[in-house]
């Protein structure tokens, strides 16, 4: 809570994760300013997922610090980080499949605004919670489906629901873990619009394979290779970066085109 | 718009199961009558006298239940289906393994079938759980096995026992063992539940009174012990000259076999309450049981005319030798026979009154009578497992004096 404008919302200092001899994340330093649309990319095995887990708090870092809004949150676990405003999504959208869409969001709203462990209903308070939840559903366009069982939703709808739940947590920063994996083109389109429409004060960090999405959503891109941060800049800068090209292409015979979709 | 066009699909389903549930309860009302007014079981009625027989037909005690049913039915058959000159209708119930099923099944005989008396009950806990029901309904319960001492603590006019108390069976042996052992010590061992403790306590009392001394004692987890070696090691290291144990059923089989296979029998004579080697248990123990000495109120080798006659009839009917369990139920029928002969009425209270005056009962086990606590005042015998008529059997060595 420094209030300084220059203080980035998220700062990683020398973040390192080792599994025995293997170093999955290698002294990553990164600053993300408030309101940024940040993307984290890298070839397979670059350590994206590991970095994601460490930042989200699912895995404790071996070394280094995670600072959110000037406050060291390195010692907080995942739920602790969510409570201070750093909220993640899951690669395989994991929702509460056996309960209704509305209840999924209510769970999130209740944590942020209610008393999630109160063991008796209070109609008036619960109605306020419900209204908040409905408004979040409205924001992602799922109002019609509020009473459906979550398990009955399509893949794309589940992603929308997940965004509604993230919003309900009052996040300052949202970590998206490959959000468009498995989506159809139309769903991807819809989802991209959804993320773009998020309030400006919410910072987003997207870990993504689909570079189309990355360059559409991100105003800043970090590139990870072999656990190290090798580039960090605007999409154009990163695209032009020689080290990035090498990291992606590796040996020349690799046929995988870099940034194939954009030209 | 019409409400009915709202596509609710699941909710209405809730209705039917609830209705079905309610309807099934209603079906139970067939025997109707209400349950908020006074009314005792065992009403006097025309026709045959209804007697309940509640023994285990399932679970680990089912073998006992079978013997008891046979003993009870044999007495009825010998008397043309009559007791005390009245026709008898037997209503059976499955006591099962524990009070969880035994109590409701037996209560049903009293509250639903209106029996005038109930015979049976193997499990002491079940008997204890039933005691209040019988006293309240004023229907006599004639316990034909369960041995818990406290069942007859207060000598309720509705609780009678034709079997034994756990303490008595152990106590009967104490003096004899003390005499036999001289200055050697005895090790006490039993399954760790009420019957085991009562049996050991009964033995200890008479044994120490007669000058015997105890080398040590161990109580083994009831129902889960499959390996007695750790305890048998204690026996060995205690240097005891004899061991007194209380085990029944599968535990008796496994214990006796292990006692034999670990070779402790060479240094320490095994004594026990008679259930250790009774009935099917002995058959399963085989040669391992040879030489084991026990106290009990019956053995089919008991050399009396009354017993010979009984054994012959039993063998003719069921093609096996009778066990103590069969005799206990047989005698329960005998006691009812005497009681019904004198009873002023055939309701529960009438039978209970008459039971107090049945006097001596001439039984295959010898003559016995109910004592003031309604337990049998009966002879106990020292038995030893020996080879007899082609197999192993409990040969009676002597009658134990108490």
């Amino acid at each position: 809570m420094t209030g300084e404008e220059l203080e980035p919302i998220l700062r990683l200092e020398g973040l390192t994760l080792r599994y025995g001899a293997l170093t999955a994340v290698d002294h990553v330093d990164l600053s993300i300013r408030e309101g940024a649309r940040h993307a984290l990319i890298g070839p397979n095995g670059a350590g994206k997922s590991s970095l994601f887990s460490v930042v989200a708090g699912a895995v404790r870092a071996t070394e280094g610090r995670v600072i959110l809004g000037g406050k060291d949150i390195s010692s907080l676990n995942e739920s602790g980080r969510a409570r201070v405003g750093l909220v993640r999504t899951f690669q395989h959208s994991s929702l509460f499949l056996g309960v209704s869409v509305l209840d999924n969001v209510r769970l999130a709203v209740e944590r942020a605004h209610g008393r999630p462990k109160r063991p008796w209903p209070m109609p008036r308070t619960d109605r306020v919670i419900t209204e908040k939840a409905m408004s979040h559903l409205g924001a992602v366009g799922l109002v019609d489906r509020c009473n459906a069982l979550c398990g009955a939703l399509s893949h794309g709808e589940r992603r929308q629901l997940e965004v509604a739940m993230v919003l309900a947590c009052d996040p300052r920063l949202v970590l998206f873990d490959e959000p468009t994996a498995g989506m159809s083109a139309a769903e991807t389109q819809r989802f991209s619009e959804l993320v773009e429409s998020l309030p400006a004060e919410i910072t987003t960090v997207v870990v993504e394979h689909d570079l189309d999405v990355v360059f559409r959503l991100a105003d800043r891109v970090s590139v990870l290779a072999a656990g190290r941060l090798i580039a960090d800049g605007s999409p154009d800068e990163v695209r032009a970066d020689a080290a990035v090209k090498e990291a992606y292409l590796g040996k020349p015979r690799s046929a995988e085109p870099l940034f194939g979709g954009i030209s | 718009m019409s409400v009915s066009s709202v596509p609710f699909r699941r909710r209405p389903r809730r209705l039917v199961p609830v209705t079905i549930g309610a309807a099934s309860i209603l079906l139970l009302a067939a025997c109707g009558g209400g349950s908020i007014s006074e009314g005792n079981g065992g009403e006097e009625s025309e026709g045959p006298v209804k007697i309940g027989l509640s023994v285990p037909l399932s679970g680990v005690y089912a073998a006992l239940g079978e013997d008891m049913t046979q003993g009870f039915e044999l007495y009825l058959d010998e008397n043309d289906g009559q007791l005390g000159g009245r026709d008898i209708e037997v209503v059976k119930a499955d006591e099962g393994e524990s009070p969880q099923t035994g109590v409701p099944a037996t209560s049903k005989l009293v509250t639903q079938n209106d029996v005038s008396a109930v015979v049976g009950i193997v499990n002491s806990a079940t008997a204890l759980g039933l005691k209040d029901t019988f006293v309240q309904s004023e229907v006599p319960l004639i316990i034909a096995n369960a041995g818990a001492d406290e069942l007859t603590d207060d000598a309720s006019p509705y609780i009678w026992r034709t079997s034994f108390t756990n303490g008595q069976v152990g106590a009967a042996l104490g003096a004899a063992v003390a005499e036999e052992l001289g200055d050697k010590e005895v090790f006490l061992m039993a399954a760790d539940y009420a019957a085991g403790h009562e049996s050991v306590d009964g033995f200890r009392e008479t044994f120490t009174e007669a000058g015997g001394s105890i080398a040590g004692e161990a109580f083994t987890p009831f129902g889960t012990t499959s390996d007695w070696q750790p305890f048998l090691s204690k026996v060995r290291s205690s240097g005891a000259g004899a061991v007194y144990v209380f085990y029944a059923g599968a535990e008796a089989v496994n214990f006796v076999k292990q006692y034999d296979s670990f070779g402790i029998g060479d240094s320490a004579q095994l004594y026990g309450a008679g259930f250790l080697t009774e009935g099917g248990v002995l058959e399963a123990q085989g040669a391992a049981a040879e030489g084991v000495r026990t106290s009990l109120h019956y053995s089919h080798l008991l050399d009396t005319d009354r017993n010979a006659e009984f054994v012959e009839a039993y063998q003719a009917a069921y093609d096996e030798v009778p066990t103590v369990y069969a005799v206990q139920a047989y005698d329960a029928a005998a006691a009812l026979d005497l009681a019904l002969e004198d009873a002023e009425s055939t309701d529960g209270a009438g039978i209970a009154d008459a039971l107090a005056n049945v006097g001596d009962i001439d039984s295959p086990r010898g003559t016995w009578s109910f004592d003031e606590d309604h337990n049998p005042d009966q002879p106990y015998y020292l038995r030893e497992v020996q080879k007899a008529d082609g197999g192993l059997a409990n040969v009676v060595l002597e009658e134990l004096t108490q």
Partner: protein
């Protein structure tokens, strides 16, 4: 220390003998859970049937060939029972419904066994040539128990070799790891799973038969055996061969050495030990590296 060892050596040896039986019974339960993700509560009933097969085959003065015949009969029965159970459970996905189904089967089996063999405790005699005692640590010890340890160890080694060193074993392990993948390369996983279920049940039946000369056979024994096997499997780690072995050894020692050392708490030892293991190592002592876990 030496005197302590001397006093308790027999207890420990006995623990190993108990572990040998428990291992045979539990390993099937564990493998079936690991490969098929089926919690088979009818396992105890299969084992008890094995014991009753002993009752049917083995009268007094059993000879070794007769004993071997009984073992083979028990194995054959177990195999069939396992395949039937595999077929019955294949369409039931959820663990709790599997429990409902297999416990239902166990209740039915228990009743049928009581109908056939009666409610009396039945005993099974070990082959006459194995019935005696031998001297161990200077004390007489039943030879048959040593034989059980030997048989069980041999079966464990064979199982290990089959699972770790043969193509069939590789197939089983692959099925544990990724069923869809194995199906994709053209293997009918149903056969693999049926085979594992059958083998597991066969081992349980053999275990029940081998234990019969010590434990006898009677109604209710199936529940006891099932509970012990569940404890072994969970303590050792679900789905793992080595886990079942370690779990059996631990439970064996708790039930003998533990009881010898703390006999006043004997009733509580087993479940207290299980609770402690599970609370400190929720996946068991040696969990399988791959496979399904509930």
């Amino acid at each position: 220390m030496l005197s302590w060892l001397d006093a308790n050596a027999l207890s420990m040896l006995n623990g190993v003998a108990l572990a040998a039986v428990l291992f045979l019974i539990a390993v099937g339960l564990s493998l079936v859970f690991g490969t098929m993700d089926v919690l088979n509560l009818a396992h105890g009933a299969v084992s008890l049937t094995g014991a009753y097969i002993g009752v049917a085959f083995l009268e007094r003065d059993t000879t070794i060939p007769l004993f071997v015949t009984a073992v083979l009969a028990a194995a054959a029965f177990g195999m069939v029972a396992g395949v039937v159970l595999a077929a019955m459970t294949s369409s039931v996905g959820d663990h709790l419904r599997q429990a409902l189904l297999t416990l239902g089967v166990a209740l039915i089996a228990g009743d049928v066994l009581r109908e056939i063999f009666g409610a009396d405790v039945e005993s099974v005699s070990a082959p006459a040539s194995l019935a005696g005692a031998v001297s161990v640590f200077g004390r007489p010890y039943p030879l048959y128990r040593l034989v059980i340890i030997g048989i069980s160890a041999a079966i464990a080694v064979v199982l290990y070799i089959v699972l770790e060193r043969t193509r069939v074993g590789a197939l089983v392990r692959a099925t544990v790891a990724d069923r869809a993948m194995v199906e994709a390369i053209g293997v009918r996983t149903n056969l693999v799973l049926g085979g594992v279920f059958g083998a597991g049940a066969a081992l349980a039946a053999i275990g029940g038969l081998l234990a019969a000369p010590i434990l006898g056979a009677q109604p209710g024994l199936d529940d006891t055996v099932l509970l012990l096997a569940l404890v072994v499997v969970v303590v050792g780690g679900l789905g793992s061969l080595r886990g079942a072995l370690v779990g059996a050894l631990l439970v064996g020692q708790v039930q003998t050495l533990g009881v010898a050392l703390a006999s006043e708490y004997a009733s509580f030892l087993l479940f207290a030990a299980m609770a402690i293991v599970l609370l400190t190592r929720p996946r068991g002592l040696l969990p399988a590296k791959t496979g399904a876990h509930g």
